[in-house]
């Protein structure tokens, strides 16, 4: 049952693939042009996925499971968090990894289900544009955020987190 048919065994080396010398390289499956991007994307999904489990679980726990949970979330809460560079870096890393992970997942799904070339091109163009806009917007918000806002009279606004009082006065 397990005996091999000697005529079916191919030599390991020495014989080229059929018609390999007569076909334009762009039609060959072995072309090296797009191979490494998909490999990098495959590894990225696993590495970023593992990191995102930690990043998002801590994000959900610290925002929803401790203190007053959902009720504590307001302007002052965000301002208080981003006063700490660790949370700035945390949210920045989460933003970039989640957007790239999600965009690559959506790219895979578009490639799987959109059969027309023009449909794929359109959907992926919209996807990449949305991804770029959200990453740039989110990054700018994290780094240009001003927690201690003053009103026209120069007084601290009601929404400010408590640490602003020592910063402004």
């Amino acid at each position: 049952m397990t005996a091999t048919n000697s005529e079916a065994v191919l030599p390991a080396q020495g014989i080229e693939a059929p018609r390999s010398g007569r076909i334009d390289p762009k039609y060959l499956r072995s072309s090296a042009s797009s191979g490494s991007f998909e490999m990098v994307a495959w590894v990225f999904m696993r590495v970023s996925g593992a990191a995102l489990v930690v990043l998002i679980f801590v994000h959900l726990f610290s925002n929803l499971m401790v203190g007053e949970g959902i009720h504590q979330i307001d302007f002052a809460f965000v301002a208080g968090k981003w006063a700490n560079p660790v949370w700035q870096f945390w949210d920045l890393t989460m933003l970039w990894l989640a957007m790239l992970h999600g965009t690559n997942g959506m790219r895979t799904i578009i490639n799987d289900y959109a059969e027309k070339d023009s449909t794929r091109l359109w959907l992926k163009s919209i996807l990449y544009l949305a991804c770029a806009v959200i990453i740039i917007l989110g990054t700018l918000v994290i780094f240009t955020f001003e927690p201690c806002l003053l009103d026209d009279a120069g007084n601290l606004m009601d929404y400010s987190p408590s640490f602003c009082e020592s910063v402004v006065n």
């Binding site: 998002i56 007053e68 949970g69 799904i109 959200i134 700018l140």
Partner: protein, 114 residues
């Protein structure tokens, strides 16, 4: 097969929430009033149920994703993929019971009515 379908559906759902979530958080740069008004919507009872659904999708995608990593990189991964799917479902259930109880308790404690 069904874990693959579930992974795709939860992934797409989480992706669209992520777009909305970055936009609503960006309102801190517009004004405190704008941010507080929009984030207040997340404290409505309907949204509380939505948050439990969202976290359910995230927790499934996370645990099933870790299972995929183990299938790909652990030597015994393909042999135990079925047992690991059971582990994913048990861990998902336990995590979701804990999260839902805590989230609902906090919600009812601070809820000021409609």
């Amino acid at each position: 097969m069904w874990s693959w379908v579930g992974h795709r559906i939860t992934g797409v759902g989480i992706f669209f929430f992520l777009l909305v979530h970055v936009l609503d958080t960006s309102l801190v740069r517009v004004s405190p009033e704008a941010y507080d008004a929009v984030i207040g919507a997340y404290k409505h009872p309907i949204m509380i149920m939505g948050e439990i659904g969202l976290v359910g999708a995230i927790v499934f995608h996370a645990f099933n994703g870790l299972r995929i990593i183990l299938v790909d990189f652990w030597k015994q991964g393909t042999r135990y993929h079925r047992q690991m799917l059971w582990a994913v479902m048990v861990l998902w259930f336990v995590t979701m019971v804990a999260f839902s109880i805590r989230h609902l308790m906090i919600f009812f404690e601070g809820w000021e009515g409609f």
